[in-house]
């Protein structure tokens, strides 16, 4: 989960305005939202493994960003993105041990600096970190796979608030497309496997998906540029997820984004390079 690439405009002397707060220019909107989810989810239902573990994830993430940003760019980086990555790891990773939180957070941040092509990082940081950990340390790590509480209200609040925020930052089309595709593919899976359709739709009602669709797949840094192709790519993420689900892969959404997201970016870069390549003149 990365952060808006749009520059920050400061209005320190002006009074607080809701409209400005919910504007695409506010790069602290997403951190504020995910913090709210964390606090409400934990105080209501104890979603965190522990404060300490989430603290470790956030601290490791911030520290990695500070050090790497300082070393490689020579200036202090804005920490909003690292904060989102850390808090996402803190919420999504479930492990009795401390080390997975630290390693996942650091690997997530490092992936931004190491796995780069033409100045862009190609994996969503926390998607990369979590996927790697799930793949390599399944005996120690799982992800948040349960619901929060028995009540509809928290889910509705998160969906409504999340939708408003995502709409305000002009990325609702990504989330909306994914949800529609997921539902269609869920019905298709139900038809193909004979499972009740409710069980196929069930994951979408859990908090893991709420974080996934509001924060992970909408990351501006690791999505393609055009609105149309963003919708196409996220449809392919949903399709890849369906294929993985038919193979009974528990963490299908993470792996689907892990596979499709970078592929889409690479294709976009390839098209860009073709467009900007110098025209050869025959001698």
């Amino acid at each position: 989960m990365s952060q808006q690439s749009i520059a920050v405009t400061t209005h320190a002397s002006e009074p607080f305005r809701w409209k400005r707060f919910f504007s695409p220019e506010n790069r602290y909107l997403a951190p504020a939202f995910i913090t709210c989810i964390l606090i409400v989810g934990h105080l209501s239902f104890g979603i965190l493994e522990s404060y300490k573990k989430t603290g470790v994830a956030i601290a490791a993430s911030l520290l990695a960003e500070l050090i790497l940003g300082g070393i490689l760019s020579g200036k202090w980086p804005n920490l909003a993105s690292a904060y989102i990555s850390g808090i996402s790891v803190g919420i999504l990773v479930r492990s009795p041990a401390f080390w997975p939180y630290a390693i996942c957070a650091v690997v997530s941040i490092m992936s931004k600096y190491v796995l780069r092509l033409k100045g862009r990082h190609i994996w969503n940081p926390s998607n990369f970190g979590i996927s790697v950990l799930l793949f390599l340390a399944p005996e120690t790590v799982a992800t948040l796979s349960i619901q929060w509480g028995n009540y509809l209200l928290p889910m509705v609040v998160i969906w409504v608030l999340g939708s408003i925020i995502i709409w305000r930052v002009r990325r609702f089309h990504i989330t909306g497309t994914y949800v529609v595709c997921f539902l269609v593919f869920a019905i298709l899976r139900s038809y193909l496997t004979g499972s009740p359709w409710q069980s196929e739709v069930a994951p979408l009602t859990g908090p893991m998906y709420q974080l996934f669709i509001f924060f992970m797949i909408t990351d501006p840094k690791t999505t393609v540029r055009s609105k149309f192709w963003q919708c196409v790519v996220v449809s392919f993420v949903a399709l890849a997820e369906m294929i993985l689900r038919l193979s009974q892969v528990v963490y299908a959404p993470f792996y689907a984004l892990f596979l499709v997201g970078p592929a889409a970016l690479l294709i976009e870069m390839w098209f860009d390079s073709r467009r900007t390549a110098p025209v050869r003149v025959a001698a």
């Binding site: 390599l136 005996e139 120690t140 509480g149 499972s195 994951p203």
Partner: protein
């Protein structure tokens, strides 16, 4: 610092970090498990004991059978009908030798009461004693049994809990049992998996706690609705109610749970009672499936729930066991709660709740040190018991596990995790659950026998000491079955055989056992604490009226002493509050102690 060298260094560190989980796994697996197969001599030399499975040689050929519930549950029957194998140890005929009662759960199936014949074998006498035919169609099926002398006549009586009608049987002098359920005033139907005897008010009469699992208005054979599953995987509150039956003294019981502060509809799977605060009153620990554990402090007149306050009731898991043990010989109990861990899907980890340094009484707090102590990951864990298996003076831990073992090559976990993450409206309705179609769910798991090194570390020696079965284990009970001064292990398996692991312990290690009988206190002495002082250390144990999962250990308390044959003293605190001190009790002896009047 922005040159290619920095970037190469960064890439190397990155790769190192990415592969670090593999390195950690390799390192951990090397340390955690002794992987050698059983070699008795080597096991004795290295671990001080080994276990041999002797059920057939002992004349025990009991196989648990699961029930067949409402046909609307057929698609998920193996996971719904996944409990009911239980074991309890009792000396029902008062001959000084432990007997074994085991339950089956098939409609019409017969439970067994294995009388100890003193020659290494047992004989099933349940039929002639009148406690076999207790699973008749329409009355539900057995889930667990606990023994306690509720009328203080010197013979242990039997409480049988079922998904169905609970039954109380009076022990008629060891010659037979009389059904006294109706006189006792027990409810017509409870879907319960846990019960225990304890004297919560110290009046000398054993009271009774029963924890419901499915709601009591659910008849699993004739469902009114398929909306009978938990409404959450971790926050469910639509389970069975809890019952606290106060013993009125004339074979009658009064249900007082709500009056005394026990109000819960969590899905209870295990319970145990012990005096955690030194008040003289047993506190009650309830491990709940699909939610947090509950701890009820007992002031002798009422209970108040302190799970969250003490730390044991905040993070919801899938509690399936509750057992107490003074594992550091500090005179304080740890509580072991088993949960679910499945590689790559769900890593809840078991809980070892240790009392926090500097906290006691009303301010008692616990911290989970399962990982630090090495007893955290145990698969789909069920019953566990603390006991000194090698008589070295520290309590070890035996854990059984495994949920549904069907097709070895096909797992139900993907579908299970899919539905478990769904909203309550989806998860609570059984018809929404994908069909199991013969797939396993955490099946064929290796068991754990964790040996305590006395300094806060447990090492798994299961394979090395001969515990190699992979049945779907449920209940574990420890008892000195043949009065040899060692703890044998009896394991009840779901849809599997009853296993008796006979223990052989190095003779270098000494032991002492205490068989207690109350006079002013309840005659079973349930709740009596014995603290043994030897070699500059102490260990406390308490007579239990039920612990672990669907199990009851022998009432006799067993202490290993290591190589030290000299016991300084044993201090008994009876449930009535009286303190009795036995100076220099001889080692390698069973001491039969009557409460002094």
């Amino acid at each position: 610092m922005r040159g290619p060298i920095a970037r190469i260094a960064l890439a190397v560190v990155f790769v190192g970090l990415v592969i670090s989980p593999l390195i950690i796994k390799r390192f951990a697996s090397r340390n955690d498990r002794a992987t050698t197969q059983l070699d008795p001599k080597a096991a004795l030399a290295r671990h001080g004991f080994y276990l041999e499975e002797v059920s057939h040689a002992a004349g025990v050929n009991f196989v648990h059978q699961a029930p067949t519930l409402d046909p609307r549950l057929n698609h998920i029957m193996p996971q719904v009908a996944s409990m009911g194998a239980s074991v309890s140890i009792v000396d029902f005929d008062h001959d000084g030798w432990p007997d074994i009662y085991v339950t089956t759960s098939k409609e019409g199936g017969k439970n067994a009461l294995y009388r100890n014949l003193h020659d290494g074998t047992f004989k099933d006498v349940a039929e002639e004693m009148g406690v076999a035919d207790v699973n008749r169609p329409g009355t539900g099926v057995s889930m667990s049994a606990v023994w306690g002398d509720y009328d203080n006549d010197g013979f242990e009586d039997l409480l049988l809990i079922k998904w169905g009608k609970p039954e109380l049987f009076h022990n008629d002098g060891g010659h037979g049992f009389t059904r006294v359920t109706d006189q006792a005033g027990l409810p017509p139907w409870i879907n319960a998996n846990t019960a225990l005897w304890f004297d919560y008010d110290g009046d000398g009469l054993l009271d009774l706690f029963i924890g419901g699992y499915y709601s009591e208005d659910v008849d699993l054979w004739h469902l009114a609705s398929t909306k009978m599953m938990p409404d959450s995987f971790e926050y469910a509150k639509n389970g069975g109610r809890k019952y606290l039956f106060h013993n009125l003294g004339s074979g009658k019981f009064e249900e007082v749970s709500a009056k005394l502060g026990i109000n819960s509809r969590r899905w209870a799977l295990a319970s145990a009672a012990a005096d955690l605060r030194g008040t003289g009153h047993p506190d009650l620990f309830v491990a709940n499936d699909y939610g947090v554990s509950e701890l009820y402090f007992n002031d002798g007149k009422s209970f108040h729930e302190v799970g969250e306050q003490t730390g044991v009731g905040f993070a919801p898991k899938s509690g399936m066991n509750a057992s107490f043990g003074d594992i550091l010989n500090q005179g304080r109990y740890a509580v072991y709660v088993s949960n679910i861990s499945e590689d790559g899907v769900l890593i809840q980890g078991n809980n070892l709740w240790m009392p926090k340094e500097g906290t006691s009484g009303e301010n008692l707090k616990f911290e989970n040190l399962a990982r630090d102590f090495g007893v955290e990951i145990g698969g789909w864990s069920f019953g566990a018991q603390f006991g000194d298996l090698n008589n070295d003076g520290t309590l070890d831990l035996y854990l059984t596990n495994g949920y549904v073992s069907l097709d070895r090559n096909r797992s139900y976990w993907y579908d299970f995790s899919k539905i478990a993450g769904g909203h309550s409206l989806i998860i609570e309705d059984a018809k929404n659950w994908p069909a199991m179609e013969g797939r396993s769910l955490s099946g064929y798991q290796a068991k754990h026998v964790w040996l305590n090194d006395g300094s806060g570390k447990f090492i798994d020696v299961a394979q090395a000491v001969g515990v190699t079965d992979t049945y779907d284990g449920r209940a574990v009970a420890l008892a000195d079955l043949w009065n040899r001064g060692v703890l044998d292990v009896v394991v009840a398996n779901q849809r599997g055989p009853l296993l008796i692991y006979k223990n052989t312990v190095t003779p270098e290690n000494k032991w002492v056992e205490f068989e207690l009988e109350g006079t002013k206190s309840n005659r079973s002495a349930i709740g009596a604490q014995v603290t043994v002082f030897w070699n500059g250390q102490q260990q406390v144990q308490e007579v239990s009226g039920g612990s672990g999962f669907a199990a009851q250990n022998q009432r006799r308390l067993h202490f290993g002493l290591g190589k030290i044959a000299q016991v300084e003293k044993a201090v008994i605190r009876w449930p009535g509050g009286q303190i009795q001190t036995i100076e220099n009790p001889a080692a390698n002896e069973i001491h039969v102690i009557k409460e002094s009047s």
